[in-house]
């Protein structure tokens, strides 16, 4: 009873916050509602006993991804009216993605039956150990492939944003540390009336 009630509570919160993500006029508020949406999905994961997945979701999405979103969005100076106008343009694309995800969910829940008896599987060990058991053995290739995809995305982002500017001045710490007094200071004995010759 308590579990079912909490499920509906968090699911309702999740859907509400998702709606607010779309319809908030201020993009910063949108990102903050997105954070709430992530938090609610974390609670949903914890409710089904997958606390490891839930907390990892919170760490990765709330602790890193959403902060970077917020970081970027806070620095934008967006005209709110143009933003609302633009949303309508993306509706077909959004429907397409929603359709794909719906089809995936239907495929997974209706047509594909799991070979493992999930109930006994879940009870036998805690889910952290279960993931640890299969991640590097059964799903080794998938895991490495997703790693490579992430690496490519990272390299792509660096290539796109990194501009080499020869005029920019940077601190060269090695050369600073290897500098001795001789390189910088010269002791000169000046005879009266001569001064230093500039060379």
């Amino acid at each position: 009873m308590f579990l079912v009630g909490s499920f509906f509570l968090f699911a309702a919160f999740l859907i509400t916050t998702c709606i607010f993500v779309i319809f908030s006029k201020n993009p910063v508020n949108s990102v903050l509602f997105l954070v709430l949406a992530f938090l609610n999905s974390t609670f949903l994961f914890i409710l089904i006993g997958a606390e490891f997945v839930g907390i990892i979701l919170a760490i990765v999405y709330i602790g890193a991804v959403a902060i970077l979103f917020l970081f970027v969005v806070m620095m934008l100076d967006i005209q709110i009216t143009t933003l609302m106008y633009n949303i309508k343009r993306y509706v077909p694309l959004a429907l397409l993605f929603a359709g794909i995800i719906l089809a995936e969910i239907i495929y997974l829940t209706v047509f594909k039956t799991s070979k493992v008896n999930i109930d006994t599987f879940i009870r036998s060990k805690n889910n952290t150990e279960q993931i640890g058991d299969v991640l590097y053995t059964k799903y080794f290739i998938d895991f490495q492939l997703s790693g490579i995809v992430l690496l490519l995305a990272m390299i792509g982002a660096i290539v796109l944003t990194h501009v080499y500017r020869p005029t920019i001045k940077r601190q060269n710490i090695d050369s600073q540390n290897s500098t001795t007094a001789k390189d910088r200071v010269q002791l000169v004995k000046i005879k009266p009336g001569e001064g230093i010759k500039d060379d």
Binding site: V28, L32, V35, E51, F52, I55, I56, A58, I59, I62, G63, A64, I67, L68, L70, F71, M74, M75, N126, T128, Q171, I173
Partner: protein, 332 residues
């Protein structure tokens, strides 16, 4: 089977038994900080209010409470008020999983260390929301700095935690402490211990990494616009976070509630005493560092996080796991 209301009462009492000591020790920590800084700089520090000035922080809190709470007219009112509350809530809910002794903990959960890591990574939201909601340039710059800084150092903290977890084989905080019964992890994992303390300084925005509130360049950083009790909440949260990170250091590296050597007069002393004394020592290191080191420049901070700590911790994870695997010491 105790009734539900009794269980709830016990739960609330347990929560208070953590929150009240934490808040009182925040006040004492502020006093200690001023005394330590005074001693380092050959001053007396606070010595007027109460015996040895020990009531100084309580007087300061009363002063803050009686001041007017100013709301900047151009700020986002809701987020402006919400940010300090969020910061304090996050620094207090983390205590739910901290084990003071092998039996005394509010919630002994399987993934305690991940919960702590998640909560401490949420801490940046209070800062960044405060900086943005103030709608003013210094808080905004402070918020941007702190977001970048906390994310950078979380990466190395994550790898340090992974190194410890490889040695323990469990994410439960009590298991982590109990696996240190014979040998504190600070000894075999000394470099990670040092990296963790330095990263903890950066994560709590303490000197020498307090760039989000760098008064020389940013007035007071993200809480420039805050006054009265909302400033007080930030202040409380910062010091509560310091105590939290010290407790985490003690749990991960200094053997929690275990005495240094397991011999008679030492192991007769209750574990909570050892825990508190170790937390106190780490806190003293925090204050000592503040009195000793100058503030880092921003690019130096980023360089230290990404180019030194990240490769070092990453290599150490590989070395530790390879060592444990080769000698068959991996925990089951």
């Amino acid at each position: 089977m105790p009734s539900l209301s009794l269980e709830i009462t016990i739960g609330i009492l347990k929560i208070f038994s953590f929150v009240v000591p934490v808040l009182v020790s925040v006040a004492l920590l502020v006093y200690l900080e001023r005394k330590v800084l005074g001693a380092v700089q050959l001053r007396k520090g606070p010595n007027v209010v109460g015996p040895f000035g020990i009531l100084q922080s309580f007087a300061d809190v009363l002063k803050l409470l009686t001041k007017e709470n100013l709301l900047p007219s151009s700020s986002n009112k809701f987020l402006f008020i919400f940010a300090p509350m969020l910061t304090l809530i996050l620094s207090l809910i983390a205590w739910a999983v901290i084990p003071i002794s092998s039996t005394y903990v509010i919630a002994n959960i399987n993934i305690g260390i991940l919960y702590l890591f998640a909560v401490s990574s949420f801490g940046v939201y209070g800062v960044i929301i405060a900086g943005w909601a103030s709608n003013s340039k210094y808080p905004f710059l402070g918020a941007l700095r702190s977001a970048a800084q906390m994310i950078s150092y979380e990466v190395s903290i994550g790898f340090v935690i992974i190194t410890v977890l490889i040695c323990v084989g469990s994410l439960n905080l009590i298991d982590i402490v109990e696996s240190q019964k014979n040998m504190w992890f600070a000894i075999p994992l000394l470099p990670m211990f040092v990296v963790f303390i330095i990263s903890a300084l950066a994560e709590t925005n303490r000197l020498p990494f307090d760039l989000p509130e760098d008064e020389a360049t940013l007035v007071a950083g993200f809480f420039t616009e805050y006054s009265s009790i909302s400033f007080g909440l930030f202040f409380l949260a910062e010091y509560a976070n310091m105590i939290l990170m010290s407790s985490l250091t003690v749990i991960l590296f200094l053997g929690g509630w275990y005495p240094p050597i397991d011999i008679f007069p030492l192991n007769a002393i209750p574990g909570i005493f050892w825990f508190v004394i170790k937390v106190f020592l780490i806190l003293f290191v925090f204050l000592w560092v503040r009195a000793t080191f100058p503030r880092y420049r921003y690019d130096q901070l980023m360089r230290l996080g990404w180019k030194i700590f990240l490769p070092l911790t990453l290599i150490w994870v590989v070395i530790t796991s390879a060592f444990l695997f080769y000698f068959g010491l991996l925990p089951n």
